[in-house]
Amino acid sequence: MATVKLQLDPRTAIPGTANGAQHTVFDGTNFPVPALAFDGGSADEAVYFLFKAINYGSGNLTLTIDWYADTASTGNVVWGAQVAAITPNIDTQDIEAKAFAAANTQQDAHLGTIAQRLHSVDLVISNLDSIAADDWVALHLFRDASDTVNDTLAGDALVVMLTLSYSDT
């Protein structure tokens, strides 16, 4: 039994046609920092990733989100994710009309002191859309900014890396 890990580079994300999170690159002091910027306003901004569930065995998917705040030094951000899985040659579903399984969400609190410190949070995706080994999968990642009761971080939340993990048995 092993854990498969897929790194999802933010630069490979496809922004939503409506309320798409923004591709951006910040000039760091010593190196550039590419990121996906999710606004804190009233819209749930989103991106999509497409991947193959190589050697998927069973169980939930864990999406590890590495993020930092643009300006906030307090507050919570609520991340959401959902998947749509298609088994090639078996599923007859129209790929362009495929629907997502229900979303899972995970809240993460800013740890304070330095606004732009790096945070990491695990979002467990338990609504799996009957995912099977080597399925073609669309992943929808969004910031649940309209949930102002729980998502309280002012300004942008910036995603710099995503890691998707699952068991191969």
Partner: protein, 81 residues
């Protein structure tokens, strides 16, 4: 003039979060409450602010131009621009 509509207050709040480049130590709900409070303050004190303008400006500038004077003076006073 009435206070801003909820939609306009949201627009101002989102714009603030987008334009702010400094570390902000309050959460976005507290920032929204600040927008609401200042909108209400301006509503309550519009006449006082208008009367603070010298007669020529008070009578010669449009409401929008006077709003810009208030905004630019405040932004300069606190080193924003």
């Amino acid at each position: 003039m009435a206070v801003l509509s909820d939609e306009k207050r949201i627009e101002a709040w989102e714009r603030l979060m987008r334009d702010n480049r400094d570390v902000i130590a309050i959460n976005k709900n507290e920032l929204r409450e600040a927008v609401n409070a200042i909108d209400q303050f301006l509503e309550n004190n519009a006449a006082t602010i208008n009367n603070a303008f010298p007669a020529a400006a008070k009578n010669g500038l449009s409401a929008g131009q006077k709003a810009l004077v208030v905004a630019y003076v405040a932004l300069n006073r606190y080193g924003v621009i």
